[in-house]
Symmetry: C2
Amino acid sequence: MMNDIRVEKLLINYKTLEQFKRFKEYGNQELSMLEDLQNNIIENDSESPFYGIHIGHTLIARMSLYRVRAKYDAYFEPPQDYLELWKLEVLPDYRGRNYGKALVDFAKSFQLPIKTNPRINSHGFWEKMGFQKAKYEMERDLGENPLIWMPAGVREKDV
Amino acid sequence: MMNDIRVEKLLINYKTLEQFKRFKEYGNQELSMLEDLQNNIIENDSESPFYGIHIGHTLIARMSLYRVRAKYDAYFEPPQDYLELWKLEVLPDYRGRNYGKALVDFAKSFQLPIKTNPRINSHGFWEKMGFQKAKYEMERDLGENPLIWMPAGVREKDV
């Protein structure tokens, strides 16, 4: 039931960080959040760049979103704030039920262009979500395979 | 026999691009090189950012290297030119024979700091190569898990 899916901003606490361990793309970012919490560099329940979907008390899907300022925009025309999206992931048992789409729709609801660099081979999914390959530009993209989505009135920057 | 391993700069031509298809991390970059060649945007045998190792006429390992200018350096102290390394990969049949190490040693021979963001779980390899995790900084690293290597006299920038 699509209308039951609720995307929430995740707070950094030991429970969230423990749940993050179930996701495949657990890395430096999560370890750094854990250290910051342990060393009191950040407070319990600080805001995080992660958004997630819970079923009961279980986090079953997540993504990270960061608003990149227009002065750093190298992808869109006219240059503007855009969202970098990463670590979009649905736990294996919950795939195929539109949770990934719900997260992407949430990101789109800001009506800003979106850029992502999926680490796994998931182009079919991103294509269904309306994302397209950015024209590759080495100095900018280096090892990335960037995918972009644009709301009306925005176009890809010429490279 | 380690002393037989020769790392070469790769030229962009149809043969190189055909050989690239055997590597797992084939993506936008390679497709863009192919298009540029087909559309005469670049000449046959243009230089590429790729370096490789051949056995006979077969490309069995490769990596990409790009020199990032000091003004964009957000990783090292003092700020300086550094190498971004990506798509380091040895074909499955040739692993465990130091070809990966030969490529990394080649990159180190420039005596510049190196940054990489391995897409696959290969931390054991990078640790053996003397790389360490960069302290994660969200605005800079977003979805990356950057690893860095520093020659003598260079240290990691405080974040």
